[in-house]
């Protein structure tokens, strides 16, 4: 079936090529132009991060003459980028663990169990996706202040977990509903309790959606500036994004340093992206409603 479709498809496009040769050329030119806008800025940053600031001002379009790591050294020694990294990893890593853990448990119940109030909870989950961070941040800040959690990692982790749970539950639920009942029933008949069925049968089968959720949550948390800026005000606890924002307002004229710090933030994300592309594209488009 699929093959015949492909065949007709290629037959149709073959005829098209004859009549629309120039059209196709124009199409490729447009596609490549847009690709250029997404690739070149990143390449520009990377290329210039190896040059001293003066060279960037004079000649930012040339390849670096040597592989100079001075900007990176500055970023780590003078700007304590290393600590920012560690803070980011602690915060985002913890957020991912809790979102995956609590989200998975709730998703399993909502996908399979029958109880009063299930619909209400589901609707409330969908509704919570509509709250922008602006609409919750003021009371959250006051609450955290009263609990003495401002300037502490936990203070940022708590609202970020909450902010990602609804999306995670909806994605995981969607997948768990498609798991055949028979697989689960085998476990139930053998006398497994809910926890055992979940950890031994449901969770392992749902691995790929857990991966989607984990990567999406990590990116969202790692890329956040708004909440981090409000909750973490002392340098020693700030994640890398807040640090970058600060460095750019203080040392914005040191182009070499700026490009190096941007590269430091972007490189791990790009590495993860290129390695786990399909999960990321799936996760981010599925999580469309969130942002």
């Amino acid at each position: 079936m699929k093959n015949t479709q492909l065949e007709t498809n290629s037959r149709v496009s073959m005829k098209k090529t004859k009549s629309l040769g120039i059209g196709k050329l124009v199409a490729y030119i447009m596609l490549i132009l847009w690709a250029f806008t997404t690739i070149y800025p990143l390449a520009w940053v990377l290329m210039n991060s190896f040059k001293p600031s003066n060279d960037i001002i004079l000649n930012s379009f040339n390849l670096p003459s040597s592989f100079n790591l001075m900007n990176y050294k500055n970023a780590f020694t003078k700007m304590s980028i290393g600590r920012g990294y560690v803070n980011s990893l602690i915060i985002s890593g913890t957020v991912v663990v809790f979102v995956v853990l609590f989200g998975g448990l709730a998703a399993y119940i909502l996908a399979r169990f029958e109880f009063k109030g299930k619909k209400v909870i589901y609707t409330a989950l969908l509704g919570s996706l509509l709250f922008p961070a602006f609409a919750t941040v003021v009371p959250v800040f006051v609450m955290l202040y009263k609990m003495n959690l401002i300037n502490k990692h936990v203070g940022l982790i708590l609202p970020q977990v909450a902010g990602n749970l609804s999306f995670a539950i909806i994605v995981l639920m969607g997948f768990m509903k498609t798991i055949p009942m028979e697989l689960e029933e085998a476990g139930i008949v053998e006398g497994c309790n809910t926890w055992q069925v979940y950890t031994k049968i449901i969770a392992p089968i749902s691995k790929s959606s857990f991966a989607t959720v984990a990567i999406f949550t990590f990116l969202w948390s790692y890329n956040d500036l708004f909440l981090s800026l409000i909750i973490l005000r002392t340098k020693s606890v700030q994640p890398i994004n807040v640090l970058l924002n600060e460095i750019s307002s203080q040392y914005g004229t040191d182009y070499g340093l700026m490009t190096a710090v941007i590269a430091i933030i972007i490189i791990p994300v790009m590495a993860v992206y290129l390695a786990a592309q399909q999960f990321i594209i799936k996760g981010l488009t599925a999580g469309a409603i969130k942002g």
Binding site: A27, L31, V142, I169, L225, N241, T253, Y273, Q277
Partner: protein, 289 residues
């Protein structure tokens, strides 16, 4: 089956997630709505003042500017982000080769933080020695102050719009790929190809997805904060102020927590109103088709 009615399991498994969402999303949301009627500094002062915050907001010239700028962003997001995403999706579908490559590459900016992109564009726009002005100088032109009062909004909107084109591209390409090939075949036999095919077959068939994209673009524009904050902080004057950045400043620079809540509630309200208007307008168009 009894297994699926185990109350203890239901409560234990649901409890953590429900607690988090209730405490950190629902409670603060309703609290924001409630406190929008208060003169509130977050701590000591909290006096009920009725609609005074709302009245003040509609008289606030900076809010007016922010609303104007926010609508400008919405318009650009719908026209350029979704428009370009659609155009690129149609072209990729048409050329058929290299779809995977373009998907990968167009998605680059989305995974990067708006903060990093913002700082990057701040460098591009730098007056002294920034690459854009360098380029102008090389062609014998005068350097331009990209972040001046007149130009700042346009300059700031470039990275905001640019970042998410790939996102709508992927959504719409997936929708186009979902159109059954048989429909195209019969169209082909009827001699419908090229642009006519796009207008009469592709676009109507993915119309629902385009609508979803437009609503996302609108609500997305209401959420913009990081990029503007990093590049201009809303300035110069209020040239690039958006509702989000202004809400942040009044709340956390001036400790006007009540007023900030009012602006936040207004942002949610605006999101709901504009998306339902767009939905309604586009629905009637679907009927005419």
């Amino acid at each position: 089956m009894k297994y699926y009615k185990n109350k203890r399991a239901i409560i234990l498994f649901l409890f953590p997630a429900v607690l988090f969402i209730a405490v950190f999303l629902y409670y603060p949301f309703f609290m924001s709505c409630y406190k929008s009627f208060f003169n509130w500094d977050g701590f000591a002062t909290s006096t009920f003042i009725g609609f005074d915050n709302y009245k003040a907001m509609f008289k606030d010239l900076q809010v007016r500017q922010a609303i104007k700028n926010t609508f400008f962003m919405m318009f650009l997001a719908c026209a350029v982000q979704v428009g370009l995403g659609l155009l690129l999706a149609i072209i990729v579908d048409h050329v058929s080769k290299g779809a995977k490559f373009f998907k990968t590459v167009y998605f680059f900016p989305i995974v990067i933080s708006a903060t990093a992109i913002g700082v990057m564009f701040k460098l591009f726009y730098a007056y002294d020695g920034g690459p854009l002005n360098n380029l102008l100088l090389r062609f014998g032109k005068e350097p331009v102050n990209w972040l001046s009062y007149e130009m700042a909004l346009g300059s700031v909107s470039v990275p905001i719009i640019w970042q998410y084109v790939g996102f709508y591209f992927v959504i719409l390409l997936t929708a186009i790929n979902g159109i059954p090939q048989s429909l195209y075949e019969s169209a082909y036999l009827d001699g419908i190809t090229g642009i006519t095919k796009t207008i009469y077959i592709t676009i109507p068939l993915i119309w629902d997805m385009i609508k979803v994209c437009l609503v996302l673009a609108i609500t997305g524009s209401l959420k913009v904060f990081d990029m503007v904050f990093v590049i201009t902080r809303g300035g110069p004057m209020s040239a690039t102020e958006l509702l989000g950045t202004y809400m942040y400043k009044r709340t956390f620079f001036d400790n006007r927590f009540g007023y900030g809540s009012t602006i936040a509630v207004f942002i949610v309200f605006l999101g709901i109103v504009v998306s339902s208007v767009v939905n309604r307008v586009l629905r009637s168009e679907e009927i005419t088709y």
